[in-house]
Symmetry: C2
Subunit: 442 residues, 2 copies
Amino acid sequence: MTDYRRLRVALLGAGAVGSQVADLLRRHADELADRAGASLELAGIAVRDVDAPRDVELPRELLTTDAETLIVGSDIVIELMGGIEPARSYLLQAINSGADVVTANKALLATHGQEIFDAADQVGASVYYEAAAAGAIPIIRPLRDSLAGDRVHRIMGIVNGTTNYILDRMDQEGAELADVLADAQRLGYAEADPTADVEGYDAAQKAAILASLAFHTTVPLDAVHREGIVGIDKAMMDAARHAGYVIKLLAVCERLTGQTDASAAGEAISVRVYPALIRRGHPLASVHGANNAVFVQAEAAGNLMFYGAGAGGVQTASAVLGDVVSAARRHIAGGVGVGESTRANLPIVEIGRVVTRYQITLEVDDRPGVLATVAGTLSDGRVSIASVEQTVIGDDEEGTGSARLVIGTHKALEQDLSETVQRLADSGVVERVVSVLRVEGD
Amino acid sequence: MTDYRRLRVALLGAGAVGSQVADLLRRHADELADRAGASLELAGIAVRDVDAPRDVELPRELLTTDAETLIVGSDIVIELMGGIEPARSYLLQAINSGADVVTANKALLATHGQEIFDAADQVGASVYYEAAAAGAIPIIRPLRDSLAGDRVHRIMGIVNGTTNYILDRMDQEGAELADVLADAQRLGYAEADPTADVEGYDAAQKAAILASLAFHTTVPLDAVHREGIVGIDKAMMDAARHAGYVIKLLAVCERLTGQTDASAAGEAISVRVYPALIRRGHPLASVHGANNAVFVQAEAAGNLMFYGAGAGGVQTASAVLGDVVSAARRHIAGGVGVGESTRANLPIVEIGRVVTRYQITLEVDDRPGVLATVAGTLSDGRVSIASVEQTVIGDDEEGTGSARLVIGTHKALEQDLSETVQRLADSGVVERVVSVLRVEGD
């Protein structure tokens, strides 16, 4: 055995991820020491309740409720408690006491990331957070290091496993959302309160983290446009399938050019989370079950995709341990860490300024002149039609026929589109706006 | 403008990748400086012929034929010449003169990697080679850093774009290899001499690099079992499709356990390149055209896949520039580089010791008892049958009928399998062994 320098590691939190990290740190100690070039000594595990049941059995003597004392003198602090406080205070304490820190806390980074990165910059410490963006999928290092010489134009991520599981089953089985959600809750794929997943809050946090990193710009969580999947039903899924698409909840981080009130180069960014249509042949369309994937379009590298498990205790623990080894190597090698750059500081545009393609599904009166009225309204609203499919759907209660119109648009400004859809709804010929979905990835 | 420390960068080679790197270094100088924390001054570009035509116009005054003089005093040396010599000597000169080096030279790393990594270790320099394994796809950093706390069990890579382009078109169009190859040569997807691609030499070099990194073991190129795609024909493609598979040229790097004459833990590795059957639902099956992808199975992280352009001048330049930024950051931050670990040094087993599933296609006499003979021979050879499909294929020239047998096996030892197939060929009932293909990824 090589005689390695010993590094004191403090672990905060022993939930699904934390207990796996503790277990792997102890079981793979020799291997980790060889890779890190340092012996990683788990000094203790801070928990709320030392007697709570754990996924993995942990030595009683390592457990403590006194995180602040545990942090003192630690070289590396791993924060896996989740939530804003006390996680934020502990991380700042750790950084200010000279530790490098590893965190998987997406809620914290999406809201207080800049404060934490600034604190680390001040003292030359490093913050590692590979597990905060897409679970086990290595996406932070590729964005920060591999693509450091390139320019990212767009990121499209399936970054929430629960919603992908639900949408995938709806697509595969023709099931309704409520039924699949109930099943997912029973199987443990969805929480008892699924709001954070199905309303897109979790995906929005990850989008903020990815966009900040890719565009060197602080992206506050409230600058992320967010729509969840609760409005998606079987009929929309079936229509998407019929048209050669699948519906996925996407986190889209996009660099825009030619924005008039934006930076000198006319650049700005948009960060948004919503269910969107993706054509079946796109690599993101074949991401099934609870898996995640991040599709990156860069100027030189072209299209890249990173695929894997987006959640899960042991999977996420892999990403955390990779960060711990990196932190240890840096501690041994010396030098200062790579800070998070916000030098670009691009303006973030409102959703209304975003340009995408749309698929609009309308129920209209089936009588002469209706299509002309619809087409005219779209044209007046600067929304250009790419395709129209009309299907007669039988008599309605007043005895007149109805038709379903599925309209694919060329690229249009979101603001123009939403105003136009409102005018269509008020036009007298449209019985119902069935759905308006963006089309991404074409 | 921040006043950055200036780093002297020497570029060796101005081919498809080199000329793009030179162009991006100059066009994105300000952005790269912000990201690297240093001003990257391109001191010169060493070429064989300063008057040769280039993909991108380069300033005449940067070109030189004197690489050795250019290297002197450089902080970062980028080697994009390809080939073994003089690339090897220049890299060693650069390392020994205190430079960090970036290379995309897979042939050199697969044959002299250890010499170069050792030289760098001696002086505390770093060697970056993201572009040597899978073009623009970030795979080196994920393996070295992100998965440093995990254990890689297996890598399956589509790492050669030319062969994937050929096999994909054969699959999609039902075309013959020779026709697609001729087309690929006309379109520039294949070289005039396609040997390095179609015989699997290029993939074998990449497999050696990936396996060395993933398993912390020096993998000499001649320890990589290599079979190309020249034996693959339309009939095999059609049969694969019929059975729900697609044929891909795979680089497989695998950790084996329970190897009797191996290391203490009974561990060994296998590194091999061959065309294999992959079921249609596998993420690797949907890698189309000249794209590459690397599928990684790790103990904790589970299944990960990295997808993107495996070649192309500007795409590969992205990976090279990412390395240049990393090298610059390290130069500025100080400290020693992360060496390439070979501490595991696992034994590498012969192909005969590998266990996979197979699909064996035979033409046999269509008469009673033949299937019993075939089944008995397989059973005697310790090859267990998972499925059999028999199709009558009409009368042969002697007037007796023939049948085609497609046999899927359970996992079997390669040595048992190949001996058994030989015995089948000699059994008197088998007219022809049509194909023997491994099945991977199930």
